[in-house]
Amino acid sequence: MKKGYKVTTEDSILQSLTRTGTAFYVFVFTLLVLTAEFLYAWYTQLTTGLIVTGMRSIYNAPNYMGPNVAVGSPWGIYITNFIFWIGISHAGIAISASVRLMDLKKYKVVARMAEVLTLVALPMAGLSIIFDQGRPDRIVNLLIYGRFQSPMLWDLTAITTYFIGTIVYLYLSLRGDIDELARKLPRRERFYKRLAMNYQGTETEKEKHNQTLWWLALAIVPIMVTVHSVVSFVFGLMIARGQWYSTIFAIYFVVGAIVSGVAAVYSLAWIFRWLYKWDSLITDEVLRGISWALRNVLIIYIYLWIAEELTTRYMGSSSDLRVSDYLWFGPYAPIFWTMAIVGFGIPALILLQPVFGKRHFNPALTFAASIILNVALWVKRFTIIVPSLLNPPLYQTGVYVPTLTEVSIMLGTFWLATLLYIAFIKLFPIIDLDVVKG
């Protein structure tokens, strides 16, 4: 690592704040156009109602299509997106807290990328829930009349705690750098000075920051586990839905979230390394380390998945089996098997390659695997939610096809998240400046 620091200075890290080319403006403009399209789609949904989506009641009133006719799924790609973003958000503090608690100095270089990912992903998860509501103007009722028995409220509590905890954690880890930026970028001096809030940079102060961050990291790890466990309870505590009552559901969700988050951090680290030529800072060793973690959690996730499928196929209840059949042999079979083979099988093979020696590690190929994995994990969440709702125990199988408006709104969270991330890297260094100081 030390060898790399000679060629990669603080100025190299700061180029993400100062260097802005034509490609950047074209990219941001494209994102703004896409965001405008998303806002229009959301406006359409708000003014017209959820009828513009493909989401329907489980069954309709008898006088409409006859008695007991299943017509659709009340949850679709918005809730899928919610679980996806919650999963992505896991990486941030998980990686950053691990670096701090286990003293993994080598990975400090990716810690902030991960923290910002959490900060950006959590609001997108919250937005996805709001999109799913027919009357988001009543959301404040959660704070007035919310019931403590409801996992929805546990969700609100867990997400709020995680979000506020992340803001506090990120600010404290960033404060020293903000103070330094006030000196390095004179044009923005006033902004940074105010934000640094009388930071002195003394050894005592730095020590105090480190101690506080250590305790905060320790507190945040269980919060992180809670957030995704609670998301699984939103499903597990619903009434009469096949495949939602597995005892490993919470673990399954937490591990899935870690896979998703670690894959996202790998993708980001690779993109930044490629974009700013940070090869000597984000070394192959760092990327190999992240891919090692990704491989291990992926193996655990696949194991849990197989355990769940096997139990259902052999001894599952009739409603569990009905959903499983629907996925394995029914209309969702092409999605399910493509996800299993291309989405999980191929990335697993790519990630397993370094087991046969360091020279088998290919950063670019692993980047492709991390992207494929996140797409597959999005689809996996979709196959957890929709087939169970389409196969209610007492009614016929329904149909769910998301509309273009729905897809535009769902994709909007990705454009917004990218814009927010870009805004951050234009204001603050995405790598802790302490890393180059050694």
């Binding site: 009357r135 959660l142 009349y145 403590f148 709020t160 705690t161």
Partner: protein, 98 residues
């Protein structure tokens, strides 16, 4: 080391949290576990008190490092910011929804 200011913030946060939770739980008039927040609690705004308690507890990290003026600035920003998010959603969607 945790200073007295941090300890005070932790205690205040904990009291708010417990107060919110107590009002929330004691005021509840239902006993069954249902999946949607349809019924209401007996004491309105108790969930908000609970959330504010969590925010105050988490800001104890700031209290350990920042001076009182900046600590209060952060605390107020976080609580007001949190409520403003809800406010914006309610106002804008309330205006657009027919």
């Amino acid at each position: 080391m945790v200073n007295s200011r941090t300890a005070a913030v932790l205690i205040v946060g904990f009291i708010i949290l417990i107060a919110g939770l107590s009002l929330w739980v004691l005021g509840d008039q239902t006993s069954s576990l249902v999946p949607l927040p349809l019924a209401s609690t007996g004491v309105p705004w108790a969930p908000l008190l609970w959330v504010c308690g969590i925010i105050v507890l988490l800001t104890s990290a700031f209290a350990n490092i920042l001076d009182p003026k900046h600590y209060l600035l952060w605390l107020v920003s976080l609580i007001v910011g949190y409520l403003v998010i809800f406010g914006i959603i309610v106002v804008i969607t309330g205006y657009l929804i027919p």
